[in-house]
Subunit: 194 residues, 2 copies
């Protein structure tokens, strides 16, 4: 480490990302990560259950935000707008950490097992969103379709966002909430047969 | 077995399904399946690499049919119509085997690991469909959205189809290709904000 930083979790995340990218996720051990961060393995395990958790730890909060936003939307809002607004809120939360998201995506793209885990997490998120819609009185099938469509829109906007050029703070840095709205527009066109 | 049947593969599938449902997928062994079918384990392994393949073996042909149908659609057809037509063709192929599909779904629903495998297979199918659309000249993002939307429509129609009442040959037996078209209509309404 170039200099001392008080934030153990942040140092561990940064060290893990560097090592996952340099050596591959499988090859990097918790011992390596702790050493690179200038911390002990014991400290690592105070923050993360295992090295995979470094990649997935923020998702619980994101899921809560999404489900909460769906639950608290105005009763008159159309299901697809409710879902999109929830993902836009999540996008706003992710927007600040684009560097992390980009590194994380590179690590996941390089590892089929992590890709499967990501897929399963997204499917479980879509199921939670569909449940939250049903609790608002949206009929079963419409709830599944809106949740699935919204999750697709989010995933595709997210992929564009992480792969777009532009650095944080630069003019023209891609904006995830805006990309989500644009992707919804594209999905509308596509499903309408355009 | 009540009576001799010449079709070893069919007997193995039937025996496997019975045992998966009676005992659970994990608990049923290949030895059990072969015994129930009145055949040897060696015969089982001539037909299937492992017991999981009994549930997934038809999918290669289905995928080929879907990708082929996308590739050979008229150039002027809208991407979502191309994808839906491909899934309708697959639906027509599945329609004859609703009993198998119902049993299969019951086995998969009871086993999280099989659910994950099904999810991964569907994601890989959607990716293959998106690739086939790109090869038709559909732009990258529209191809992903149409493939994903069509796969969602198919999945939701399939769930309705397997869970609907009505026996083969009965009037009112649910028709998978029709359910696919209906679900597409619903997705259109949902994404349009209805």
């Amino acid at each position: 480490m170039a200099r001392w930083e008080p934030n153990a979790r942040g140092r561990l995340v940064q060290a893990a990302m560097e090592l996952f990218i340099e050596r591959g996720f499988e090859q990097a051990t918790v011992a390596d990560i702790a050493r690179r961060a200038g911390l002990t393995e014991r400290t690592f395990f105070r923050h993360f259950a295992d090295k995979r958790e470094v990649l997935f730890w923020g998702q619980g909060a994101l899921r809560e935000l999404i489900v909460e936003t769906v639950a608290s939307a105005p009763p008159s809002a159309a299901p697809i707008d409710v879902v999109t607004a929830a993902y836009e809120a999540a996008g706003g939360m992710l927007q600040e950490g684009r560097d992390f998201s980009r590194q994380r995506q590179a690590v996941i793209n390089a590892n089929p097992e992590l890709q499967e885990r990501e897929l399963i997490k997204l499917a479980s998120l879509a199921a939670a969103v569909a449940d939250a819609l049903r609790q608002r009185g949206v009929p079963d099938q419409a709830a599944s379709l809106a949740a699935q469509a919204g999750t697709t829109v989010f995933r595709i906007a997210f992929e564009r966002w992480v792969s777009a050029p532009g650095e944080p703070g630069e003019t023209g840095e891609p904006d995830l909430p805006r990309l989500i709205r644009e992707s919804l527009g594209e999905l509308r066109d596509v499903t309408a047969g355009k």
